[in-house]
């Protein structure tokens, strides 16, 4: 309690100052009349409009990928305009295009808990080559039901989702190494592992003895990007929050912030805030991989899903994995160390040189910067202060490089501009603070509205940041935009960081709650963007590639409709012979081979979403008619001047009816 009190006492003057500032802003806002937010345009660069204006028909300089948080999706924005380009469905069903609803994509959301149509997506991470973003894939974590997804950036589609066993709250995830050798995922919750791939049924009182965390090492195929869980490290039962890979000299290492090192199982807001210091865990992933390869890994039974989208059939398939290999730190000397860090740290960020590990402790009054070279020295000199589960704990001073004094309140996350500066988000004092890596002094501050969580500089977490813009992702919006009832869009702010002083450029609303983001020069992604799928390469088992092959066939009580869609009709568009209770599978192939001509398909009363079919692809909508009658279906995506005419009818007769299967478009075809 003493330490918490000290922190509050230290913070009090600054907090009072912040309140005074906020109060002032409110008064100012009132005098500025209606139609404006209380936080005025103060600090906005005079040429801001010009700096963010992307003329009609022109493209943005960067793609940015903002996680959707509790919507489980990924939003793609152009920068500097802040224009929303797309929402990529990842962990959540998306009625807009049928992701997770149609027969092809359903399997993407399979887990050992069954079909889980939602998750909490926190951290997007771009794939890397030589420590730089390469624009091939985007990895993302599902927090609630531990999963890691991979989005292909040629199609902007989720192509792979892997469940993580022995994990709970996959928050500390997914962190790619410099060449995507591994994507690393740590567990936020520690749980009692039953060593059979599940959690054990034990009393919460046994937290200290039975609960453990895990760090998963997912191997990534260098060519195709396919993931495979190589091994896990079973770690002490802390909460693992965020991670960051080393760079240059430290590129064999990955660092994790931990909290609740008290191992409290209840009321963690207090229970996990008792120790003055929690830990920064340092793991030598290369050594870990070596230990795993050399047979130090043990195997335990497991049960987890691995779902992959086949690129030729566009069908997702689930595979169930039944074992997982694991390492114990106590068996693997030199693999893992703990560095004392200010209590309950959030961000851990390694600067582009790979020498500085910056820990942003949200309850801390300073920002400690650790030194990788000092850490190497400390390992050599064994400057340890005991150990936990066989993991040596360094002496704080032996690895500390400096503490950034009076940075602000509630430091959360730091990124770098590649020009010797670091930028830290301050949740409590609601500002971005710029400080120098050379002398660890604060050189500039920019208020943000309100309560910034993560921040992002394009490439700011890599070897070679592109220090032009910074995006602040704010947790609280209040009056920044026109009010929209109790639920408001979150607010992101774009800041110009190209000069000495930060310049505020733009506010833009975001979808759900972005926790983190990535950005990349558009030229690394745009040229590879697929315009449509080659119909000749479509290997969907129920694809039909010309209208004359369209068919309706009965297989027991399943009626398969192999349908084509092309501007502006569907073949067949008159179907008869379906009976109440049949399972009708509409396999719709979009015959178009033209850019931006998707067709959609929906049928009246279907208990599912429409499915949106890209040119050259085949997708399937399942429909079980419950009553007799004639039901219309139609194209749901405006495709042409005659889109409104792109429709048809399916007749449903009572069970056992003598009406034979027949189908046609235009002229009647003989019964099949």
């Amino acid at each position: 309690m003493k330490s918490l009190f000290t922190t509050i006492k230290k913070a009090a003057p600054a907090a009072a100052f912040t309140l005074a500032l906020a109060g002032g802003a409110v008064l100012q806002g009132c005098s500025s009349g209606p139609g404006e937010g209380s936080a005025t345009a103060a600090g906005v660069a005079s040429d801001a409009a010009q700096a963010v204006y992307v003329a009609p028909g022109k493209h943005d300089e960067y793609y940015s990928f903002l996680s959707g948080g509790f919507n489980g999706q990924m939003s793609v924005y152009g920068l500097p305009s802040g224009r929303l380009l797309k929402i990529i469905p990842v962990f959540t069903q998306h009625g807009e295009n049928g992701y997770g609803y149609n027969e092809e994509s359903k399997a993407m959301l399979n887990t050992s808990h069954g079909f889980v149509p939602w998750d909490d997506l926190h951290h997007p991470k771009l794939s890397r080559t030589n420590g730089m973003t390469d624009g091939r894939w985007l990895f993302a974590n599902g927090n609630n039901t531990p999963r890691v997804a991979r989005v292909d950036l040629t199609t902007f589609e989720t192509v792979e989702i892997m469940e993580i066993p022995n994990s709970a709250g996959n928050h500390c995830s997914p962190y790619p190494t410099d060449n995507n050798e591994y994507v690393i995922a740590g567990t936020r919750f520690s749980v009692p592992l039953d060593m059979k791939g599940g959690t054990a049924d034990v009393s919460m009182d046994e937290y200290k003895d039975k609960f453990r965390g895990s760090i998963s090492f997912i191997k990534v195929d260098q060519e195709k990007g396919d993931m495979e869980l190589d091994f896990q490290i079973l770690v002490p039962g802390f909460d693992y929050d965020l991670a960051n890979g080393g760079k240059g000299p430290s590129s064999d290492w990955v660092f994790f912030t931990t909290y609740n090192t008290e191992r409290s199982g209840t009321l963690k807001e207090l229970g996990a805030s008792q120790n003055d210091r929690d830990y920064l865990a340092a793991v030598n992933w290369k050594l870990a991989a070596k230990y795993a390869a050399e047979g130090k890994a043990k195997e335990m039974p497991a049960y987890y899903y691995h779902n992959k989208m086949d690129k030729d059939t566009h069908i997702a398939k689930s595979t169930i994995k039944k074992t997982v290999r694991y390492l114990l730190p106590e068996d693997c000397p030199g693999m893992m160390y703990l560095i004392p860090a200010p209590k309950s740290p959030h961000g851990i960020d390694v600067d582009p040189s790979g020498e500085h590990m910056v820990v942003s402790g949200k309850l801390a009054a300073t920002i400690p910067v650790f030194s990788f070279s000092k850490m190497q020295e400390a390992i050599k000199n064994k400057s340890f202060d005991g150990e936990i589960n066989g993991i040596p704990v360094f002496k704080y001073e032996s690895v500390l490089k400096a503490e950034v004094p009076e940075p602000g309140l509630g430091p959360l996350h730091t990124e770098f501009d590649g020009k010797g500066n670091a930028y830290t988000s301050m949740f409590v004092s609601s500002e971005i603070v710029k400080w120098k890596l050379s002398d660890f002094t604060v050189v500039d501050r920019m208020p943000v509205y309100y309560s910034v969580g993560h921040l992002m500089i394009p490439g700011g977490d890599t070897h070679t940041p592109d220090g032009k813009y910074l995006v602040a992702m704010n947790k609280i919006t209040k009056d920044r935009y026109l009010p929209t009832g109790p639920e408001l869009a979150h607010s992101a702010q774009l800041i110009d960081i190209s000069g000495e002083k930060m310049r505020m450029l733009l506010d833009f609303p975001t979808v759900a709650e972005p926790h983190y983001a990535q950005a990349i020069k558009a030229e690394k992604v745009a040229p590879n963007s697929v315009k449509f799928y080659d119909l000749a390469k479509n290997k969907h088992p129920h694809a039909v590639k010309k209208e004359s092959d369209a068919s309706v066939t009965r297989e027991g009580n399943v009626v398969r409709v192999k349908m084509t869609a092309i501007r502006s009709h569907m073949t067949p568009d008159n179907i008869e012979g379906v009976q109440v209770g049949d399972t009708v599978l509409f396999h719709v192939t979009n015959l178009e081979q033209d850019w931006d001509v998707p067709h959609g398909f929906a049928v009246m009363g279907a208990n599912t979403a429409e499915t949106l079919i890209m040119p050259g692809a085949t997708q399937t909508l399942r429909w079980v008619p419950k009553k007799a009658g004639v039901f219309p279906f139609y194209c749901t995506d405006f495709c042409s001047a005659l889109h409104q005419e792109m429709q048809g009818y399916i007749r449903v007769s009572p069970k056992g009816s003598p009406v034979p299967i027949s189908f046609s478009t235009g002229k009647k075809k003989p019964a099949a």
Partner: protein
């Protein structure tokens, strides 16, 4: 004819081979919703486009106005023309070997006639496609026909059509030009020969 005349004549014949490597004619379409454009390529033996889907896209657009779909199978010319071109190439090489100036002229004139017939045929097809419209077409603009331009550009509803000869036609042009030059440059050699005969 001197050796270089024969070589030039050979080149003239072989340049017809360009017809097998490049389209003869290209029709470019541009519309507000087709910023990337749409191209139809007419070859001596096939019809293609700038992308694999181009012909399908032409047909999709054309079906609204009731134009007959374009398929390579509809044109007997595409089956015959390759043989005609090969005939001209073989004949040209023979002419070069024989070194007969009159044959050079005949070959050139025949080729010019062949080319003209080809262009006339092409024009007739354009007229047929552009005017022979299905009366049940969804879009009917009174008095409107859709004959694409033979050469140059023309606006057809929301489309701007541009029609230009392509590299394949250059092969014919080059063949005619070179053969013409052979005929012209070789006039003295014949005179010399005649003179020699007179002197003898």
């Amino acid at each position: 004819m001197k050796a270089y005349h024969k070589v030039l004549m050979m080149i003239a014949s072989l340049s017809l081979g360009l017809l097998f490597l490049f389209p003869m004619w290209k029709i470019y379409l541009k519309a507000p919703q087709y910023p990337e454009g749409l191209e139809m390529h007419i070859w001596v033996n096939k019809i293609s486009g700038d992308t694999d889907g181009a012909i399908q896209n032409f047909n999709i657009l054309n079906h609204y106005i009731g134009m007959e779909p374009i398929h390579a199978d509809s044109f007997a010319e595409l089956k015959i023309m390759p043989y005609i071109v090969i005939f001209f190439m073989v004949a040209g090489i023979l002419v070069a070997l024989l070194g007969n100036r009159k044959l050079v002229l005949s070959w050139t004139v025949l080729l010019m006639i062949g080319g003209a017939v080809g262009i006339a045929d092409f024009y007739l097809w354009l007229v047929k496609f552009g005017t022979n419209l299905d009366p049940t077409a969804p879009i009917k603009v009174p008095g409107m026909t859709y004959v694409p331009p033979l050469l140059g550009n023309k606006t057809l509803l929301n489309f701007e059509a541009l029609s230009l000869p392509a590299l394949g036609s250059l092969g014919i042009g080059l063949a005619i030009l070179l053969a013409g030059l052979v005929f012209y440059f070789s006039r003295n050699t014949v005179q010399v020969k005649t003179a020699k005969r007179v002197m003898a």
